[in-house]
Symmetry: C2
Subunit: 431 residues, 2 copies
């Protein structure tokens, strides 16, 4: 049986998972792909640490160049994370004629253009199934399974930590801080959860999904990013009363000939399937023009889940190598219906608005007057019970409105003497 050697850069959590699977499923994989995958070298800065998998000490090195320069290694698997030196390692490996498997969404989101260009020039591949939704085969599905489709939109719950926090807030009626603490206690949030909670991790993944579905590599700065740290339990409760759940969505959406790319808390109607995605799970809702609306759901993280995706990439690459192919389905084609990225000011949406006002005659009239002035029409208004003394929250759902106008209106409203808190606006999707 033909053998293909791989080199692993990074022997942490996911790296150990990859080793475990390749060891335990060696014969299963060989039967399926008719190739024997051999780990020839593993690089990590710490090669002495005891790990949950046993490997021959001779495989270990702390010099990545031993892998990159080894002509017998055809595939490098980068699971060390971080930008540098992962980027240099991948570029060097491509230059040495190796294919690359990586789970590094941050790296691909920030330097994908350069890395994919280098791979194309060398006739090599970079596979990255594990970088979005861990073991959910979303990348293969978009790239291969839906190969003939054009896409209208992708809505993703791409960050398990944020979804866990929002689910806790919704089901347990607790505050953001309480939910985040509970996520930390369960190991679902890192000590510094900024990347997750502020939508950066979702944005990294959105760059990759946008590339796959629309053929465009967008920059992080092209993405409007708003995290969940300002979502209050009051908003979740009011949204629920109105028939909505609040989810942190990563959205790439075609609007006529422009593409919107954004990450923000979103009100979704309860009947929308994404509203039912609870806890640390991920789901990607893909609206395609031939296959229709599809959803892919699963754990968005986890050692074996991510490693499962890495191994499927390795298996695919072995086939490419055996065939001597520059796997052509990797050709990602720009959707020629998309002419430009839409600027945040031009976004249009329905909005949930919560304004905290003094409960006295004439305030609602003033608010309504300002909204009307900016052309924002209101679909429903609910004045909630008084919270304390004379303060009342006024909750509104708008009709389709321009973001720019809404922001201007809220700024003016927040300047009124009777407004006691910064007003809240959350976009509504899926209606």
């Amino acid at each position: 049986m033909k053998k293909i050697n791989i080199g692993l850069i990074g022997f942490g959590n996911v790296g150990s998972g990859v080793v475990k699977i390749l060891q335990q499923r060696k014969s299963l994989l060989a039967q399926k792909i008719a190739i024997e995958i051999t780990i020839k070298k593993i690089c990590d800065k710490d090669i002495l640490k005891k790990r949950e998998v046993k490997v021959d000490r001779s495989l270990l090195t702390n010099d990545a160049n031993e892998i990159i320069n080894d002509p017998q290694i055809d595939i490098i698997v980068e699971v060390m994370g971080g930008i540098n030196p992962a980027k240099e390692y991948i570029l060097s490996a491509l230059k040495k004629g190796k294919h690359v498997v990586t789970a590094n969404k941050a790296l691909l989101a920030e330097h994908g253009r350069e890395l994919f260009a280098e791979a194309a020039q060398r006739g090599k591949n970079i596979y990255f199934e594990a970088s979005v939704g861990a073991g959910i085969p979303i990348i293969k599905s978009i790239k291969e399974g839906l190969i003939a489709n054009k896409f209208n939109s992708i809505f993703g719950i791409l960050n398990g930590t944020s979804n866990f926090v929002l689910t806790q807030m919704s089901k347990e009626n607790c505050s953001f801080a309480g939910a985040l603490n509970s996520a930390k206690a369960k190991g679902f949030a890192e000590k510094d959860p900024t990347l997750d909670i502020e939508g950066i991790d979702s944005a990294h993944k959105l760059v990759l999904l946008t590339y796959l579905a629309f053929g465009r590599i967008v920059s992080l700065k092209d993405i409007f990013i708003e995290g969940i740290s300002r979502v209050s339990s009051a908003d979740i409760a009011y949204a629920k009363e109105l028939g909505y759940e609040i989810k942190l969505l990563a959205i790439a959406k075609k609007e006529t000939d422009e593409l919107e790319v954004r990450v923000h808390p979103t009100l979704l109607p309860r009947e929308h399937l994404l509203s039912s995605i609870d806890g640390v799970f991920n789901a990607i809702y893909v609206s395609s023009d031939l296959a229709g609306d599809l959803m892919f759901y699963g754990p968005g993280a986890g050692q074996l889940s991510a490693a499962s995706a890495v191994v499927s990439d390795i298996a695919d690459l072995t086939q490419d190598i055996k065939a001597g192919l520059f796997r052509p389905t990797l050709n990602i084609v720009e959707d020629n219906l998309v002419k430009a990225l839409r600027k945040i000011d031009e976004f249009e949406s329905k909005y949930y608005i919560r304004i905290t006002a003094v409960d006295k005659p004439g305030v609602l009239a003033k608010i309504a007057g300002i909204l009307a002035k900016y052309g924002i029409s209101i679909a429903s208004v609910t004045q909630k019970e008084r919270l304390k003394s004379s303060i009342v929250p006024v909750v509104m759902i708008t009709h389709q409105s321009k973001e720019k106008n809404l922001r201007a209106a809220l700024k003016m409203i927040d300047g009124l003497p009777d407004i006691k808190e910064k007003s809240v606006a959350i976009r509504i999707e899926g209606v």
Copy 2:
């Protein structure tokens, strides 16, 4: 650019969809796969009928052998449906060295063993993504995306007609007959809906999923099949009160070293994601040992949705052909943890039971006595309000019980003079 010729057998609904996509996405596909796909011949028994797509009259034939015997055609696409002559055409095409794409679940379910063996012997492939869940890339996902995984279970809502009927009954509170009429009126049910409603279509698809996930081709007769025609609106309402929805599930499930394969109405807890799958949509819930619990959702039927899957199969095959590969990821490996198929008598489940009894002292005691005699223990009992005169429905949820014992107990209960209707038992899953 290299060209690959295909021949289409069947120019009906899906066939026309395939032609439409290959025409309209010709350049997109060529850019992606670097191969030009050309339709060289289309066979249909009626070549005069006006169709929604235009093709050159010279492509049309009513003799399938013109395709099968054409040495310039590398791929035949069988979308005529039915068992004969589709089976003969596919076998002949394989013998002539062609690869096959088919959407024909009934044919593969009934004759898959013979067809796949012939393909393997000839070093050719049969791809069938469209046969389960139409455009949902479930087959590619199990076969390639989850290549390293072993599977614990697959739960599928695989028949849109049945799911539409059950959804109508649940949401609109209507009878089975009423819901079925509404499905017919909307074009979601055929004139004779037996195959859909009685679970046969789901069973066909289950054969294919079982093959992919567990490496075993089971016969239809190995599958316990029960349709939805005896599900009453009362059961749906009572189930809902207890926190469940009723879905027609196709299930392949490992229990220790045995495999259960079955299709039947099932109570699912409302929180289970499959409970939220409404209308004609399909969803496949896959429990895997590495990637965890995944779900794939989308329209389970439709011209372009099915054609989208057919075209992705064609695209994959062009790559195999270009590489001269017998695509090795097609090797389907038997799960060696599965030693046998479990017989229906040995199934164990929790059950929802509804017994219709005369409301008089001692009846419940008799029922409970019989259940106890058969070792069936009860988790909850609700005696509903009287329906008419002195008849009351008694609804119970059992603990884990053997199917065999439950059937015997119900038979004895139904023999009691105070039982006025055949008792109902529905399996519960997902708890």
